[in-house]
């Protein structure tokens, strides 16, 4: 029901406050009721005592007169004088069976309703009984006033609690969303993203700062790792190239061919190729090539590549075809786009097997340009597909074939540079590599 912690907390606090309002209301009602009862009793007692005094000085008639007078006064207490046989002598209060002391009588009011009256009955020496009472109406009125006040307070607490909780969870929710948005962006490969900091140095801000420091550290580690592998590739290239030249020299000097030296040259070439690919990926990822971006017709790139590779495919009993009916202009580096397509095509030719047919498709779909390289080879199992873009990742069955495992990593680097999107799709049978260039990214 509550998807956020702040919503849950504010609901909990609202419930607690509402409960305390109810408890406070109950206590207030009970204590005011008690205080009022004590006050009324005191008033009745003193009136009763005053009338008894009247009897002592003025006799029964004096009391009867005083009772009638006071009973008629509006807003005063209720009075009654009852004879020894229960007959009413004066006042409205009449009681037959009342004994002396406190009791509750019902009195018919002017509007015909029976109303409870709290009555003190005192026996006079003449055998008459003096009744003094007060209706409980104003106690009830007070009760309802207090209850009403607390009902409003209760409603106020609930409304404020819900509104406050909503505002709180929106504010906190927005900032948490910013943090998880940053995390998502980093998962998607945008390592430069950081959590926005408000500068209020509250707990969420401190969390954001800590996360940012952690991200800086990760970025520094990644950078030094990349730097080390590039340095290794770069520094080993020169001695290896010299070694290659020496081997070539000795091959040229010797009469006839030396299979051992030729084999060594082949191995050296593979190593140099791997290093070159690593350095090229590093160069692409450096982003400097973005300066060379210009409108490039991907369909023309497709024609060149397919035309270049068609004879090789034919020799391997494979077929390579192009389906690019219209120009497809993207903003990019033509050289890198060519290399990307060459790598994809070579990958398909190499892994689809003998007799496979490979189709390169370039189309405008909506405002996107979509490039597809589809083969009908054995395909790639789903869990391994995304790993193919990692450097040096190779499928188990491809380990024995030549290749550096860097071809698709380079493709991925080119795709990222162009802010395009690449996916490997099960073509059933075979594999389809789909690159989508969106117009905004160019």
């Amino acid at each position: 029901m509550f998807r956020s912690t702040s919503q849950r907390l504010s609901a909990l606090y609202t419930a607690a406050f509402a409960l305390s309002v109810v408890v406070l209301g109950a206590i207030t009602v009970l204590t005011t009721r008690h205080a009022l009862a004590v006050q009324v009793d005191a008033r009745i007692r003193s009136e009763s005592a005053a009338l008894a005094q009247e009897y002592a000085t003025e006799g029964l008639d004096g009391v009867a007169q005083a009772v009638s007078e006071r009973d008629r006064t509006p807003g005063a207490l209720d009075y009654g004088l009852v004879g020894p046989h229960g007959e009413a002598v004066a006042g409205r209060l009449a009681a037959t069976r009342t004994t002396s002391g406190w009791s509750v009588l019902k009195l018919r009011e002017g509007d015909g309703n029976l109303e409870p009256i709290r009555v003190l009955s005192v026996n006079l020496p003449s055998g008459h009984r003096l009744l003094v009472g007060d209706d409980l109406e104003h106690v009830d009125a007070l009760d309802s006033t207090v209850l009403q006040a607390f009902a409003w307070a209760f409603a106020g607490v609930v409304i404020l609690g819900v509104a406050g909780g909503f505002a709180l969870s929106r504010g906190v929710g927005r900032r948490l969303a910013a943090i998880s948005g940053t995390a998502e962006a980093i998962i998607d490969g945008d390592l430069a993203r950081r959590v926005p900091v408000r500068g209020s140095s509250d707990d969420l801000d401190r969390l954001a700062l800590t996360i940012n420091r952690m991200l800086d550290r990760i970025a520094a580690l990644m950078e030094s790792l990349r730097q080390v592998s590039n340095d290794v590739a770069h520094d080993l290239r020169t001695p290896l190239t010299r070694l290659r030249q020496k081997l070539e020299g000795s091959l040229a000097g010797a009469e006839g061919s030396d299979p051992a030296i030729e084999g060594a040259l082949g191995d050296l070439d593979a190593i140099l190729e791997t290093f070159a690919a690593l350095l090229r990926i590093a160069q692409i990822e450096g982003g400097a090539r973005r300066a060379a971006f210009r409108p490039t017709d991907l369909a023309a790139v497709g024609r060149t590549v397919v035309e270049a590779f068609a004879p090789s495919a034919e020799d391997a009993a494979q077929s390579l075809s192009l389906d690019a009916p219209a120009p497809a202009i993207v903003e990019g580096d033509p050289e890198l786009l060519t290399q990307m397509l060459v790598n994809l095509v070579e990958n398909a030719l190499r892994h689809a097997g003998v007799g496979a047919s490979i189709r390169v498709e370039i189309r405008h779909t909506g405002d996107e340009v979509v490039l597809l390289v589809v083969d009908d080879g054995p395909g790639v199992p789903d869990p391994e597909r995304d790993k193919l873009f990692d450097r040096f990742y190779r499928l188990e069955r491809s380990r024995s074939t030549p290749g550096s495992g860097l071809g698709l990593a380079l493709v991925a680097a080119v795709v990222r540079l162009h802010q395009a999107d690449i996916r490997l799709i099960d073509a059933d049978p075979g594999l389809a590599a789909q690159v989508r260039f969106s117009p905004a990214a160019g």
């Binding site: 070539e248 091959l251 040229a252 040259l265 190729e273 070159a276 090229r280 060149t304 035309e307 270049a308 590779f309 004879p311 090789s312 020799d315 033509p334 050289e335 060519t338 290399q339 060459v342 070579e346 030719l349 190499r350 030549p402 290749g403 071809g407």
Partner: protein
């Protein structure tokens, strides 16, 4: 352009050898034109990749070899003297027979 009995007409985009017409694909024509312009000099794989295909990198597939062997098939097959020669470890050269 002429090299020995091989003749390449840039305007008509026609190639003949010993008077017999040779049908070439556009890319093969470009390749032969490049070789003839550099006749007697060794052209490397890299040079060919860059000038014919505008590939500024080295594909793993031997596309130069494939195209070259097709071109040779058309130009040299059935002739006593080969004009296109492979220079091992370096590239290709088109030159007049000694």
């Amino acid at each position: 352009m002429n090299v020995a009995d091989l003749r390449l007409d840039l305007l008509k985009r026609a190639v003949t050898r010993g008077g017999a017409r040779i049908e070439l694909q556009p890319r093969e024509f470009q390749l032969l034109e490049y070789l003839m312009r550099h006749a007697g000099r060794v052209v490397t794989r890299t040079m060919l990749l860059e000038s014919i295909w505008d590939f500024h990198f080295d594909p793993k597939t031997n596309i130069v070899e494939t195209h070259m062997s097709r071109l040779r098939g058309k130009v040299d097959r059935g002739h006593a003297h080969e004009l296109i020669h492979t220079v091992r470890g370096a590239g290709y050269v088109l030159r007049e027979p000694d």
